[in-house]
């Protein structure tokens, strides 16, 4: 056997390293970053590689209509929208920003203030009139207003989720209850929870996650209040071209503004304290879970197994429950109960064109396509969210002459609640999401546990702490 000398071994190691470096050069130098050096439209999507791959049908349909535009979908994984935006910002810092970004309510004003291109001029082009009229006629004005910032529209909303109450039929029947009426009150709700607790001691009567969407916020909204004082930007030019133009004669569009503004914290006002007190008492009486952090992923099996009787969720949950084996008749959905109002909170998502993009016309083509009936359907062909177009929010959907099942295949009996939340309650709007939303949400999450998990004086102390955190979050961004 030939002896391998140290010199030969080192030489071989050197050659091997060189070969590995050569093979890995595209990765090391970032040459293989999707679309980085090509002429493709780079679209950043909040999701996994698998979720990006699920958009293939959408991309193919887009390219069939726009054969000259190559599209590269860049999936960005994150635990929440705040993490997603942080990663998009690192792309911006690295000098490789995408052209279009999937943006939800959480980041709508941050993007509008710093990164996104206003869409007003594109929408108002005479050539786009018919397509845009078709879109606006099909989309509730509150969704549009939620993506307006200081008088301009920055996104065409694609989907939304309002926080409704999901009910386990088994738990309700066991407690002697049927489906509650539309105009039920928060006292009716609490009475029902007491009955559930009595008849089903092992179950959690009401479960809620500690987060901005679907946490304390829906209860604040039905009590006509919020942790941040909401004002509105003047509609400005949008009053003519949008509210009195595309939405002319639509009662729900009357008096709409140029977008919400949240400039001042008000966590210690009596109505906010009253709302937290309701939740604190529900926790104390064992009617509600002590709020856990995070999303509702862990909740599906609990609701499916009947351990959770009621919870706040939106249309996005329908497919998740179906995947977990929950039958349509095992659960139902109803509006939030009425307190001082029955205004709901929602979160929406859409697509932003980046100010820095050199492919703005191509980006506009994408935005226009994805807001069409076909594009919006293809982006979410199953009830994993509530489409912003009313015509898609139906039992079945007809696209290119083919009827596809939507809520008729998967969905509770009263699935119409999802879109009717907007129609029935004009005060329904986005949750509080100023440009500093990540800090606002963090402050709310951290202080909510203390506010509802102890005595009344601890709650007041937590609200004072929340007020301080919110004030600092708003000051630093201003």
């Amino acid at each position: 056997m030939t002896d391998i000398t140290r010199r030969v071994a080192l030489g071989a190691a050197g050659v091997g390293t060189l070969a590995a470096l050569t093979a890995g050069f595209p990765r090391l130098s970032g040459l293989d970053v999707p679309g980085r050096h090509g002429n493709a439209l780079r679209i950043a999507l909040f999701g996994t590689q698998q979720q990006a791959a699920q958009q293939d049908a959408l991309i193919k349909a887009f390219q069939a209509e726009n054969p000259d535009i190559k599209v590269v979908m860049i999936p960005i994984q994150a635990s929440d929208w705040g993490g997603f935006f942080a990663k998009v910002l690192t792309m911006v810092a690295a000098g490789t920003p995408p052209d279009v970004v999937n943006v939800a309510t959480e980041g709508a004003q941050l993007f509008a203030a710093k990164l996104a291109e206003p869409l007003d001029d594109y929408i108002r082009r005479p050539a786009e009139r018919a397509a845009m009229q078709d879109y606006f006629s099909d989309v509730h004005p509150s969704l549009i207003e939620s993506f307006m910032y200081k008088g301009s529209l920055y996104q065409l909303p694609a989907n939304f989720n309002a926080a409704n109450i999901f009910l386990s039929n088994t738990a309700l029947h066991k407690a002697g209850y049927d489906y509650p009426p539309d105009d039920w009150t928060k006292d009716d709700f609490v009475t029902m929870l007491r009955a559930i607790k009595k008849t089903n001691p092992g179950a959690v009567p009401f479960y809620w996650a500690n987060r901005m969407w679907g946490g304390v916020t829906p209860w604040l909204y039905i009590n006509n209040t919020s942790i941040l004082r909401e004002t509105k930007s003047p509609a400005g030019a949008a009053a003519d071209w949008l509210w009195n133009g595309f939405y002319k004669g639509v009662p729900a569009a009357q008096g709409r503004s140029g977008g919400p503004l949240w400039l001042e914290a008000q966590a210690t006002i009596p109505s906010v304290e009253e709302t937290f007190e309701l939740l604190r008492e529900m926790v104390k009486d064992g009617l509600s879970s002590s709020p856990a952090s995070g999303g509702g992923g862990a909740l599906v099996p609990q609701f499916a197994s009947g351990r959770v009787a009621t919870t706040t969720a939106g249309g996005y949950w329908v497919d998740g429950l179906a995947q977990a084996g929950v039958k349509n008749d095992q659960y139902d959905v109803q509006f939030m109960p009425k307190w001082k109002s029955q205004s709901h909170q929602f979160g929406a998502s859409g697509w932003s064109m980046m100010r820095s993009s050199s492919r703005k016309e191509q980006a506009w083509a994408w935005l226009k396509f994805i807001s069409s009936r076909k594009g919006m359907y293809l982006s979410a062909p199953k009830p994993t969210t509530t489409p912003c177009r009313r015509s898609l929010c139906a039992g079945s959907v007809e696209i290119d002459g083919v009827t596809h099942p939507f809520y008729s295949a998967e969905g509770p009996k009263h699935w119409k609640v999802f879109y009717e939340t907007l129609d029935r309650f004009p005060g329904t709007g986005p949750f509080t999401a100023p440009p500093s939303e990540p800090a606002i949400e963090l402050a709310l999450d951290k202080n909510t546990i203390n506010a509802v998990g102890g005595s009344a004086s601890q709650m007041r102390s937590a609200l004072r702490s929340l007020q301080g955190d919110l004030t600092r979050a708003l000051e630093t961004r201003a």
Binding site: G82, S290, S436, P438, D445, G453
Partner: protein, 317 residues
């Protein structure tokens, strides 16, 4: 530095030794070149990914920068703002509490187990336990934190389910300020004591057996041997272990970030979490850098203090 003139004779005076000395010089040069080649990847890597970011971070501490727009000179404003920030004050207090408790616990648990494993256990069990205790360190801190948050979930967690079955009721592991702090500390120590344990095991193995034998002849046993032989002779290892544990604990982030996000209230918010929130939540990279600089200074001071104290408490022979 090599003195060439000292080893190379003048050309005017030929010498039989000259070719041999030239060869030695050439060899030395060659070796230097080879050393440079071998060191280059590390030096370049360290320079690019450690030194440059450190310098950039220090420079950034004097600017206002939100990633999107150009940096603007801020002078010492970022540092001034730190001293009036109640969140940062509370984060520093929490971090100091975490450091003190985790380091003491980590060293105590690791030392106790190392003594137990080295002194009592049979050899096969020793090697098994070495792997078992080291195992948590190779796990991702984020994954461990997610699993722990499921295990100790107040409503549906496995631990509370068993406690309820036993009639003991649910414990608010992460929804009460104090219990959340305790849980974060325990999870952190569980995941990190393995490395300290290995250090102590190595330290124990290096203590000569004859010292113990001599002390046995003098009548010392058990606790007295541990107190007067093991602890002093382990002091160099203890110094290294404590320096590393303190530096690591000062940077605690993953566990509180994933499990409690700093709550309830600010009870588990740490300095590194504030840095992250300022940078990526508030887009205040200047302030975040200033806190980073401050934390680095604190780490350097603590480490210097430890080495200073080590002159009195560490025995190297």
């Amino acid at each position: 530095m090599t003195d060439i003139t000292a080893t190379t004779p003048a050309r005017a005076v030929p010498d039989n030794t000259a070719p041999q000395e030239d060869a030695a010089t050439i060899l030395r040069r060659k070796e230097k070149r080879m050393a440079a080649v071998f060191l280059a990847p590390t030096v370049i890597g360290l320079g690019l990914f450690v030194v440059v970011p450190i310098i950039a971070s220090v420079v950034l501490a004097f600017f206002r920068w939100d990633v999107i727009t150009s940096p603007k000179w801020a002078g010492l404003d970022n540092f001034h703002s730190l001293f009036s920030d109640p969140t940062l004050r509370s984060a520093f207090a929490n971090t100091i509490f975490f450091v003190v408790t985790t380091v003491i616990l980590q060293l105590a648990v690791a030392l106790g187990l190392a003594v137990l494993v080295q002194g009592i256990m049979p050899r096969w069990l020793q090697s098994t336990l070495r792997s078992v205790f080291f195992f948590p360190i190779i796990l991702s801190a984020a994954s461990v934190s997610i699993i722990m948050s499921y295990l100790f979930n107040q409503q549906f967690g496995l631990v509370n389910t068993y406690l309820n079955d036993l009639g003991l009721g649910s414990i608010p592991w992460f929804t009460n300020g104090f219990s959340a702090q305790v849980m974060i500390i325990l999870i952190y120590v569980w995941q990190n004591f393995g490395f300290t344990f290995l250090l102590f095991l190595g330290g124990l193995a290096s203590i000569p057996r004859d010292v113990y034998e001599a002390s046995s002849i003098d009548g010392a046993t058990g606790w007295r041997q541990f107190r007067h032989i093991t602890l002093p002779l382990l002091s160099p290892t203890t110094l290294v272990a404590s320096v590393m544990a303190i530096i690591s604990a000062l940077q605690i982030f993953d566990q509180p970030y994933v499990i409690t996000q700093g709550g309830p209230g600010n009870s588990t918010e740490t300095v590194v979490m504030v840095i992250y929130q300022d940078a990526f939540g508030q887009l205040q990279f200047g302030t975040a850098s200033a806190i980073g600089v401050l934390l680095t200074i604190v780490i350097m001071l603590v480490t210097a203090l430890q080495f200073r104290l080590s002159r009195r408490f560490v025995y190297y022979s």
